[in-house]
Symmetry: C2
Subunit: 481 residues, 2 copies
């Protein structure tokens, strides 16, 4: 950790974000422009994200598989919207084993095409449906403006791909999975989201409906944190993916796809962090509690270290991810700053006097100063106390972030109001019946896009804030990462 710490958020939010990533050793820049190395501490957070999602996917009947990185160039051209959406972002392999290839290979930007190629071979009859797959993989999109975790040339994600016998089943699956994401985001990440439908312009290239969850970062900008798409029969028709139904008739399958990426880690950093660094929700924190032994005189060291090690062991045995800071070069103050930068939810301080009473001090990362300190906590009660404090921190972080989100969404009744809200950095919610052209104009003039048409709607109808036309739904407009 450097001496300076991080740029204050209020001074320069973008610099604060990059400083935290560097100082907490989450990630580093790769030698190829736009690529990133995920360092061990950043990867351990990703592993916890993976565990939280993978468990939910399996509980909802999905199985993992692995599809190839390389896709024949011709595949991407089969679905019209898909090729338009992805062509500008492709990386192409043109030389293999020293020879020019007859057909270039795409390094997958997403796998719908190769998945459909296989679905066409695997799915013969209604008995093969539904087919509920997921893969954990890397994908490549040739982005020009990159930022660690938020937008990188290569990123890690999971992509779900499912095939169904009916449009209703596919729609239900797309909705089920956006709900799985919401549950994960709010309960594991403590990241509250607004869930809804994407506008036609913001839809995934090749989808019938796209659903997303939108999170509000600390600077109030929106981040699309996970998406779920009802693909209808678009890819099935492009790839001839058909099955024999119960009446022995050939039908096209209906499909979904859904993805969440390392971008979510960017959301966790930006939703919770402060000027001292990361604040990690306990369920995603690689280290949930760190024990910092404190002594002054040499003869105090041995008993304090023994007590600290006992605490570490007791907590680890209770399944709490616990670290003991063994360093004997740094001061306690330096260590406090260091572990605060790393966002560890609970710091446990133990010194000679604490040990005389078989007690210790707990300090919450999410509540600064004395208010977040619990003194005289009996060591013998530690696992229970730490577990319940972790739960309290987890739910407290969600509550705090939700209050921030809700207090920064404002209703707008005119284009003027929208402009004002959005230029102040907040989110605008208004009745909306505009055209694609209207939406584009708003984007060009204000920088704000339709983040989603939320599932949760006020009782209506109303009139469109822009056109005055009758509107059945409200939409949320915001500037986004």
């Amino acid at each position: 950790m450097s001496e300076e710490g991080v740029t204050p958020r209020s001074e320069d939010y973008s610099r604060w974000y990059l400083d935290v990533i560097r100082e907490a050793e989450l990630a580093d820049y790769g030698p190829v422009r736009g690529t990133m190395i995920i360092r061990p501490y950043g990867y351990a957070i990703w592993e916890n994200i993976q565990k939280g999602l993978d468990r939910r996917f399996k509980e909802t009947g999905h199985q993992n598989a692995y599809f190839p990185l390389f896709i024949p160039y011709s595949f991407i051209q089969k679905e019209k919207q898909h090729v338009e959406g992805f062509s500008p972002e492709l990386a192409l392999v043109t030389i293999g084993g020293g020879k020019e290839l007859e057909e270039p290979l795409i390094v997958r930007p997403t796998s719908e095409t190769v998945v459909n190629h296989m679905f066409t071979q695997w799915i013969k009859s209604y008995r093969d449906l539904p087919m509920l797959l997921n893969q954990w993989a890397n994908v490549v999109r040739w982005e020009m403006r990159t930022r660690p975790f938020l937008r990188t040339l290569e990123f890690l994600w999971q992509e779900g791909h499912t095939a169904h016998a009916s449009a209703e089943e596919a729609e239900a699956e797309a909705m089920r999975m956006i709900e799985v994401y919401r549950d994960f985001s709010e309960n594991d990440g403590a990241v509250p989201v607004v869930v809804g439908r994407k506008s036609r312009l913001e839809r995934f290239a090749g989808a019938v409906h796209s659903y997303s969850m939108e999170a509000m970062m600390g600077d109030k900008r929106a981040l699309q944190a996970g998406t779920s798409h009802n693909l209808g029969q678009n890819f099935a028709r492009a790839f001839g993916t058909q099955f024999l139904d119960r009446d022995n008739q050939l039908q096209y399958i209906c499909q979904t796809s859904w993805g969440l990426s390392t971008r979510f880690e960017g959301a966790v950093i930006m939703v919770h962090g402060d000027d001292k660094g990361l604040i990690l929700p306990p369920r995603l924190a690689p280290i949930q509690a760190v024990v910092v032994p404190i002594w002054r005189k040499d003869e105090e060291k041995a008993p304090v270290m023994a007590g600290a090690e006992e605490i570490r062991r007791v907590l680890a045995d209770a399944g709490i991810r616990t670290n003991l800071d063994l360093d004997d070069q740094r001061t306690p103050g330096w260590k406090f700053n260091f572990w605060e930068m790393k966002g560890v939810p609970i710091r446990i301080e133990v010194g000679p006097r604490d040990l005389q009473n078989r007690s210790c001090v707990l300090a919450r990362r999410d509540v600064p100063g004395k208010e977040g300190k619990l003194v005289g906590v009996p060591i013998d009660l530690l696992p229970d106390r730490v577990n319940s404090l972790l739960e309290e921190i987890q739910s407290g972080m969600l509550t705090k972030a939700r209050a921030f989100l809700e207090s920064n969404i404002f209703d707008c009744k005119s284009y003027g109001e929208l402009t004002e809200i959005v230029s102040g950095g907040a989110w605008a919610r208004g009745w909306w019946a505009g055209s694609d052209g209207d939406e584009l104009r708003i984007k060009e003039e204000t920088g704000a896009t339709v983040r989603c048409i939320p599932f949760e709607q006020p009782s209506g109808p109303g009139s469109c804030f822009l056109t005055g036309q009758p509107a059945a739904e409200v939409a949320i407009f915001a500037k986004a990462y």
Copy 2:
């Protein structure tokens, strides 16, 4: 599952292997030549391989990270042996975002170069050492002759990369990790191995010493199932990776790398499988026990299904990966064949008469016929009985495979003997002091290569079976996949 089943191993071992992969739905061919889709059942085995290894890596102090897929072309040219070894196998990205790139990008065949680029930035002093990293990733090698799992254009693996302050530490790490692989292979995979040093010719491109574990497939051919390399300072010198030692002197770091891939799944298939299909070791089996309900009359169905479901639940609650075959179209005989093809270690049969006695029948996959059947097993004792039977199967499979391995390694005292042993398909072990040229000649004339110079050596010295020169070590020669 098709009606024909699989080609008998004795008739055509290669076809048997491919048939098992198809019929057990482990993998399928990708649209790009040499690529593979890992299907859910095959991927679930890989997930268990990952868990077994990842736990061991973390227990030995390693942390996961993630390095980029794309490596600048210039990087591969920095280490002389490395570029010679990998140049013929590279896939190159030459177009990104619609534009020709100034410098082509390599799709990583392995990550030593990019890891060293980062080590050079991260490692400043002896306090930063050792640095013990691992990554789970896909890699690409432009192979011309591919075979599912064994050799594919893209494959999944883990690659460990470590940096140390001294040559001794790096050597100890390389040895520790080949031992971790051996422990995993034998105890989780039930795949016995011969562990040893690679000959100079068979060494990893850029290594000082390479260690490997060699397994014997069902056709007696050798398979290199995992490797660990002491890289010395070769990459450190090429990339200028230096640190300040305790005396404030700049030193090059010493490194290791080690990898195990989806190839290991090929070993599991070939070491254990028989003419009925897969036989999976319980620790890697996605399904450890399958419950097959058996009824004839309609009125028997409901109580039998209820009993079968109770068995499933009791076993699942005890942490045993259990499946209940709910299909009511297929005969019990068809189901037996199906689950045998899938290699499920224990089949549990339950019918009306069994239920009257609250008992069931256990059938071992690894012991065919009546000998592998336990009848009248009380349902109330099931979790314990199934757990202990799984342990028995796990160790029994290792014992059987080890007996096969050991009975097919023969000592050779002359080149004639070696030729005879090797042409009979077995492994030859002999005192060896030949040159690189001698080794190449043997490879050309017999098709056998030095698999390794085993750590376990007979008391010597002896005389080289080829040259008659004094030899300090025996080497193992065999044809390999």
